[in-house]
Symmetry: C2
């Protein structure tokens, strides 16, 4: 009889482990690809350019949420980290930690979601690992994805290239993912439903490639949100960031819910957005390119890089006053990704 | 005041996350290396050859055991998977899932152990990730490592290259790791203490490189032990494996303890051993090379590849009879790696 749940023997390395891998992972990830040939590794075919590696583990709760699930998130998150490095995402490895008793149907759904997202993003899931721990030693499923991409010639995105006068763009509305997870967890309902923005941003990477070195830096504002990412970039570039609150796109539903909950959307996680810092001469064109993409429709220019105050983020509020926008301290929304 | 334990805010993506990364990971992994420059990725400098990726999550319990700890294991395990692919291990990413309340002192020890093992194996830990889950949602710490290596020209290790007449070698004694963990967990004590063989096997990879294509396949017999690996290789090569029980090196202490516990060392996990399948003309030389390495002193020729029975492993017992050695079914020792 086939089990309907994960049992400890699925992690033994023996026959049941093999069957789990064959029935769930190989079938979804590699059908007709001839990959997964080596037991414990996969050979990568890398085009010319600088190879980049990025890793992330995903522990989000709940596993399924409006707009996505842990599988879609696990693929999107690592794809987006590679895009932020300027790389074309190519390959992913994936490693599962499964809790004894976890539903095999849910695992199947998650794996299919990963396969679908990977196909959409043009990345191949080439190797994996499965571990099982006793009931109570993990919370259902944790997924690690590690991505390999290649930076095409002429691309160089890093904080060291940010200059005073650069424009600060965001590719869309802020806070959707964080608020969706929070609302889902607390059982909150809003008149206009909120949906996570969870999505792979390979198209942004591709669309901005022609701007070459005019794009100075990119980063995805996940945990800690826009405020934290801008503070990191300010610290790493030893420059200041000056942004205009009124120009930051936030959905009405998200703004309203945040006000109700006493949360700030600028600290809320995003899983399908990019912060882009570019030379002022190209900022308008970059925006136009972003607006043509489904994932960039609400892109906006929210401010500029300044030489002073070093390492800080200033925000011009709706009232016209200026205040310091600090990095996230303490804890915000746990297990958001 | 600095916390002595992991708190939820260490996973927020905010200031406390940054401090954790800087104080524990960057300091141990990248001192003076100039790595960890990109926030969410690292650029890799890859020599010519075929790039290989391998991933593993480690959930071993207990975290510290005679002969190693989860950190040493997490580096060794992925290094050994790359070596088994014929690759020279070069880079590792590492991702931590930490349970709220986990001791920062223990984390520090684990991270130092990883750094030490990586240095020994000549691999660089170049990028990472940290997530925190609530008390009770994980068991202390889980670590993923994903490795990148490059297969030098002339090396091609895979089951498809195994031929009838090939010799089957093991690089040392079988079952040390599995028995050590089991004994530690059950509080068993033996007259001769047993110690895990946990070690990176980069030296084996390097030493066997000059044999080029005469080495047909390599695999590390971890979960499921030698019996399971030989069954996998038999199935994948569509050949048979014929081994001689009396030639398989097993430490007296391990054999005795296994007998007492009703366990078979051939199903026990190893974390510092390799199964090597090579052309018969070079097997004696390969053994000589292995014997010169500290990790290969007890290497032995344990049998040969046969054309029949396909997909099966036969073992000649100490009594001179023959029996089928099946792959591991069901569960053996949970959370062994």
């Amino acid at each position: 009889m086939k089990p309907s749940q994960i049992i400890m023997a699925h992690g033994s390395g023996g026959l049941l482990s093999q069957r789990l891998i064959e029935e769930y992972f190989v079938r979804a990830f590699a059908e007709g690809e001839g990959l997964w040939e080596l037991n414990d590794g996969a050979v990568l075919d890398l085009p010319p350019g600088k190879a980049v590696i990025s890793t992330d583990s995903f522990v989000i709760s709940p596993l399924f949420f409006p707009g996505g699930d842990i599988g879609k998130l696990a693929v999107s998150g690592t794809v987006n980290d590679l895009v932020a490095c300027g790389a074309r995402p190519l390959y992913l490895s994936t490693a599962f930690i499964l809790e004894e008793g976890f539903s095999l149907d849910s695992l199947g759904e998650i794996v299919k979601s990963m396969a679908r997202t990977a196909q959409q993003a043009g990345v191949k899931l080439v190797t994996g690992d499965t571990k099982v721990v006793e009931r109570g030693s993990a919370d259902q499923v944790f997924i690690n994805t590690t991505g390999i991409g290649v930076i095409p010639p002429g691309i160089d995105y890093r904080p060291g290239r940010i200059k005073p006068g650069d424009r600060i763009l965001v590719s869309g509305t802020m806070g959707d993912h964080g608020l969706t997870i929070l609302a889902q967890r607390e059982g909150l309902r809003f008149r206009t439903p909120v949906v996570s923005d969870c999505a792979p941003l390979h198209e942004i990477g591709k669309a901005l490639q022609p701007f070459g070195e005019q794009i100075h830096c990119m980063r995805d504002p996940t945990r800690g949100g826009l405020a934290t990412v801008l503070n990191e970039l300010a610290a790493q570039s030893r420059l200041g960031m000056y942004i205009d609150e009124q120009k930051i796109p936030v959905l009405d539903a998200v703004r309203g819910a945040c006000e109700m909950l006493g949360m700030d959307p600028l600290y809320m996680a995003n899983e399908g957005k990019m912060v882009i810092i570019c030379a002022p001469q190209v900022s308008q064109q970059v925006l136009e390119v972003l607006h043509k993409l489904p994932v960039g429709q609400n892109a906006a220019d929210i401010g500029k890089v300044v030489s002073q105050p070093q390492g800080m983020v200033l925000i011009k509020t709706a009232l016209g006053t200026e205040r310091i926008l600090a990095a996230l301290e303490g804890e915000h929304v746990p297990r958001i990704c």
